[in-house]
Amino acid sequence: MRLRLPRLGLKLWVGGGLTLALLATALLAPWLAPHSPTAQHLFEGLERPGRAHLLGQDRLGRDILSRILHGTRISVYVGVVTVLLAAGIGTLLGALAGYFRGSLDELLMRLVDIFLAFPGILLAIALMGVLGPSLGNVILALVVMGWVGYARLVRGQVLAARQLDYVTAAQALGARPRRVIARHLLPNVLSPVIVEATFGMAGAILAEAGLSFLGLGVQPPTPSWGSMLNEGRHYLLVAPHLTLFPGFAIMLTILGFNFLGDGLHDLLNPRQRR
């Protein structure tokens, strides 16, 4: 019998494959990495790619391949925790505002406007500037920046869905708001949140790398792709491999999540393909 793959579309396969590879690498990094990510060999600093060190060595002689593999963990950790927190907070607030409307909704929307007035990662940069660089603060800054999008999305969805018959029916049966929101509304508005969260993973990973590149994120010696690029930019002339490989890892990761998000969007909204 021929094995038949479900028709999920090329984007979903490529995106899913890249994302699974990323998660597997994060999980298995200590076993995949040929060397320790932090062991220094000062006499071999800036060594080019070769047989012993496939992607070369950095300024302190650390193995770049091992640092990239271990860096996956930081990226995945920041991405997952940030998205879970931001999507959780945003979904909750957005659902409450959309369901109860009135002054709560008004307040939330004004708050959303304020947060949206800070372009891109500016708010995160400002927060990291005052809070000081650390992994926990990176996640905090990205959640403060990120919840807004989910809140706005879910509010709009709930606002539209609460008019529908199934919600009225649940209310007529005497269901309390908490039950209506949790059991009836949220499950029905969740698919755009999932698509948003997939793009959110890409955004969070990119933002962490950007902050670390600016020296405001994860601190040495923890291997983060962004801080590896930050170190690399001082040696563009003599050691371009310091810049080449970590950046490639970031691009593959972002590419994977973008494909996955596009694919999920097509799968969950078959009527409006991108």
Binding site: P119, G120, I125, A126, P240, T243, G247, I254
Partner: protein, 313 residues
């Protein structure tokens, strides 16, 4: 139209006040004693007290807030802790370089994206179409803090065509503008292609062709006119990404703009300067969005009529 502009202007006031409030509060988020964090633990007690007074931290929070708003109203953003220069002067010195960089990047993005997107739509499902979409996908997925160094390695170090970094003649702006503009170019290419595809089969284009107009004119004049409308919205939304991207791009290329200033201020724990830069960047973004919203209504006659009707007393 004027009523619409005034109403839209009134709507930005809460956002502007909100931005000011958030920026004010950031100083109070500093863990521990902000004065100690700026001067270091070993600072003299007298110096700490003087700085506390200068920053107004000795008054109750609501008094500090009102004083802060009062100073802002007079255009007083305080003084840099490290150089004693007024913050506003430091920003005024660096802002033109940032505006130059963002405007050139914007121009590069539009000039690359519009022809690429139109041709991709006109040759739908050909190798050219798939190729330019792949290029766009790469552009979106490539972080500017990687693209910048790659461009330096290739064009400045290997080919020696362009300067590595710094500010000077026209050659200096090429690599930073490409770095900053590429992601926007990628997004705009996809948008242009999608919106041209939408109108390609429409009656008015068939009429234009039937009149005997040349295909290039049909595409670049008639199709583009309608495709432009969604593009303007995207431009407005993406301008924010351009502004925050400028912070990273300026750092890579040692470009003397406000983005590099804010990073240097953070590194020097010069909080009044950080606050001032963040405030000016955010307010600039709010202003640009206002302009884009007005522009959007102005270029689309349907929306213009709707806005005028809605604002009738």
């Amino acid at each position: 139209m004027r009523r619409y502009v005034l109403r839209r202007l009134a709507l930005t006031i809460p956002a502007v006040l909100g931005v000011m409030t958030v920026v004010f509060l950031t100083l109070h988020l500093i863990p521990g004693d902000p004065v100690e964090s700026m001067l270091g633990e070993m600072a003299q007690a007298a110096d700490k007290a003087a700085l506390r007074r200068q920053l107004g931290l000795d008054a109750p929070l609501h008094v500090q807030y009102l004083r802060y708003l009062g100073r802002l109203a007079q255009g007083d953003l305080g003084r840099s802790l490290s150089t004693r220069e007024p913050v506003l002067a430091a920003i005024a010195r660096t802002l033109p370089a940032t505006i130059l960089l963002t405007v050139v990047s914007l121009a590069v993005a539009i000039l690359l994206a519009v022809p690429l997107g139109i041709l991709a739509a006109a040759r739908h499902n050909t190798l050219y179409d798939h190729g330019s979409m792949l290029l766009a996908l790469l552009g979106i997925s490539m972080p500017n803090f990687w693209l910048g160094p790659l461009l330096i390695i290739f064009f400045a170090i290997e080919l020696r065509l362009l300067p590595v970094s710094g500010f000077g003649g026209a050659a200096h702006v090429v690599l930073p503008a490409l770095t900053l503009g590429s992601a926007l170019a990628a997004i705009l290419t996809r948008m242009t292609r999608a919106s041209v595809l939408d109108v390609l089969g429409s009656d008015y284009l068939r009429t234009a062709r039937a009149k005997g107009l040349r295909e290039l004119l049909v595409l670049f004049k008639h199709a583009l006119a309608n495709a432009l409308i969604p593009l303007v919205t995207v431009l407005g939304l993406q301008f924010g990404a351009l502004l925050s991207g400028a912070i990273i791009t300026e750092t890579i290329f040692a470009w003397p703009g406000i983005g590099r200033l804010v990073i240097q201020a953070i590194q020097g724990r010069d909080f009044p300067l950080v606050q001032g830069c963040v405030l000016v960047i955010a307010l600039g973004y709010v202003l640009v969005n206002l302009v884009v919203d007005v522009l959007y209504v102005w270029i689309d006659p349907r929306l213009r009529l709707a806005a005028e009707e809605e604002s009738e007393p």
